[in-house]
């Protein structure tokens, strides 16, 4: 029973990381209808940036914050320079450009920081916390807490501020947003910035667990894809619930189904994605899409 409970808690921590990256995907999707295939690689660069800042002598927490701010700017720049000019391009062009970006960013990390793995320290102490009969690591609790706080801030931004409301309006019905005086491109720019910042957060949280290397986000982005698909690509709530579900399921499957085990648990993501797409393509929380001919 203890094993089960701790698997759930660990799953929630993993799930929180997936959720933040899935949210990043959802933010860019909601605002521009694009799945940012390069999101994981951007997150990986953000994590490297923390390492670099620390190598230059900055303490961990400020380095992480600086990296998140720079990621926000980079995400906004990506929108302004690449995504916005492509707003009328064909799907193939958009996908190709993002795949191109993915390949280029991946190589860029290898070029700048080589392919040997580096260690990024955890934001949290190596302690364990006692909760009655079982123990959880401080990292697990810390990850859940940090992501929880970020989600709360996002909620407050979108539900209580004017800018948040305008961003939701711009994503929902851009034509009408213009008519109430909202600058839609600026809102989308902020949306892509937030997406990149959320990605950065996921990268910084996961890096201590998997070590820094240019392929570190492969295993995360695939679960984030699964989480976003499961929750519905246009649903913020869906991304969070999807992320947590995927994290828990992945951990339980890896532990309790020996046939799959830790090596093959990536198949959970594949099954979830294809299963969702086949059974409920809009996801658990997604809006039903009406295909207009």
């Amino acid at each position: 029973m203890n094993l089960f409970a701790s698997q759930i808690i660990d799953g929630l921590a993993d799930g929180a990381i997936y959720a933040s990256l899935a949210l990043a995907l959802v933010f860019s999707y909601r605002s521009t209808g694009i799945v940012n295939f390069a999101q994981g690689e951007m997150a990986m660069l953000s994590a490297y940036l923390v390492w670099q800042l620390m190598a230059w002598g900055m303490p961990l927490v400020p380095a992480a914050l600086v990296s998140i701010v720079i990621s926000f700017i980079a995400g906004a720049l990506l929108y302004a320079t690449i995504v916005k000019p492509l707003s009328h391009a064909s799907l193939l062009t958009v996908v190709s450009v993002l795949i191109g970006l993915y390949l280029a960013l991946n190589s860029l990390a290898g070029f700048l920081w080589t392919y040997t793995i580096k260690a990024l320290p955890s934001l949290f102490p190596k302690a364990h916390l006692q909760f009655g009969s079982f123990t959880v690591s401080a990292e697990t609790v810390g990850i859940i807490a940090v992501v929880g706080i970020v989600l709360l801030l996002l909620y407050l931004l979108f539900e209580t501020t004017k800018v948040g409301l305008a961003m939701r309006g711009a994503a929902s019905t851009p034509d009408s947003a213009i008519l109430v005086g909202v600058s839609v491109p600026v809102m989308l720019l902020i949306g892509w910035g937030i997406a990149a910042a959320l990605g950065a957060l996921s990268g910084i949280l996961v890096a201590p667990r998997v070590f820094l290397n240019p392929t570190m986000m492969f295993g995360v982005i695939i679960y984030a894809f699964a989480a976003a698909t499961l929750g519905g690509f246009d649903s913020v709530v869906g991304a969070v619930v999807g992320g947590l579900l995927v994290g828990v399921v992945e951990n339980l499957v890896g532990t309790y189904i020996p046939w799959i085990g830790p090596d093959l648990k990536i198949i959970v993501a594949l099954v979830l994605i294809f299963g969702t797409l086949l059974i409920k393509p809009d996801g658990l929380f997604g809006r039903k899409k009406v295909v207009r001919l």
């Binding site: 409301l165 009408s176 947003a177 005086g181």
Partner: protein, 236 residues
């Protein structure tokens, strides 16, 4: 001088020109209606005014040219556009829709306005926390108008407010619009296909045909005009 005046406006979509040299004046505190059949260019006219499509020609609003301004700047200048099909933010609540209408304004003032407009549309007050997409057609139209009013515009552009509504609802809507004009002196330019109800509340009107204005007169005369009666009012 008119509050609003268009001289020689051309507009269209890409290479296709829809409007061919429109001249139009709207006096302050007036309700002017634009009649015309499907495809005459009524919607294009409003879009051209609000800057959501490319246009050429002179548009004067309150003495200043607005034909070079972006859609956002025109909104800020005081021209609100209620688009065809209402264009409410379907997945936002009614209250959020209204608040978003006041995006360009400061909080306290906007809150007062919100109360004021809700007295004209009490139905909306009951549905403040509902999703806009779940409203009936008439309620959505009210919401779209309220949202536009929240900008506190000096000119309100309405694109086929009667579209998809039962005549009784349309009638109520036009009465409310007339009441709003009485109380606030707001100028309105209404595009309509179902002309009789619109002419009831309007002061003057023009008839648009194939992108040109072919007739302009007082609302009363238009309602009495045989041609207009036959084509737009359905009388034989």
């Amino acid at each position: 001088m008119s509050l609003f005046s268009i001289k020689g406006m051309h507009a269209g979509y890409g290479a296709r020109n829809v409007l061919h040299g429109i001249d139009l004046d709207v006096e302050e505190r007036q309700i002017q209606v634009v009649l015309g059949a499907n495809g005459a260019g009524k919607t294009t006219l409003l879009r051209a005014i609000s800057g959501t499509i490319a246009r050429e020609g002179t548009i004067l609003f309150d003495g200043a040219r607005i034909d070079r301004l972006s859609a956002r700047k025109i909104v800020a200048a005081g021209v609100a556009h209620v688009p065809q099909g209402r264009g409410t933010f379907a997945d936002l609540t009614v209250d959020e829709n209204i608040r978003l209408g006041a995006y360009l304004r400061t909080g306290a003032e906007a809150r007062q306005d919100r109360e004021r407009w809700l007295t004209f549309f009490p139905r909306l007050r009951e549905r403040l926390s509902q999703q806009a997409g779940s409203l009936s057609g008439g309620e959505q139209q009210m919401l779209a108008i309220t949202r536009a009013l929240m900008l506190r515009p000096r000119l309100l552009l309405l694109d086929e407010p009667s579209l998809g509504l039962a005549p009784i609802i349309t009638q109520g809507l036009f009465k409310t619009l007339a009441a709003i004009r009485e109380e606030t002196g707001m100028t309105m330019l209404i595009v309509e296909q179902s002309a009789n109800l619109a002419l009831d509340v309007a002061d003057s009107g023009v008839v648009l045909e194939s992108g040109e204005i072919v007739l302009r007169d007082s609302a009363q005369n238009l309602a009495g005009n045989d041609e207009v009666r036959r084509i737009y009012l359905g009388y034989e």
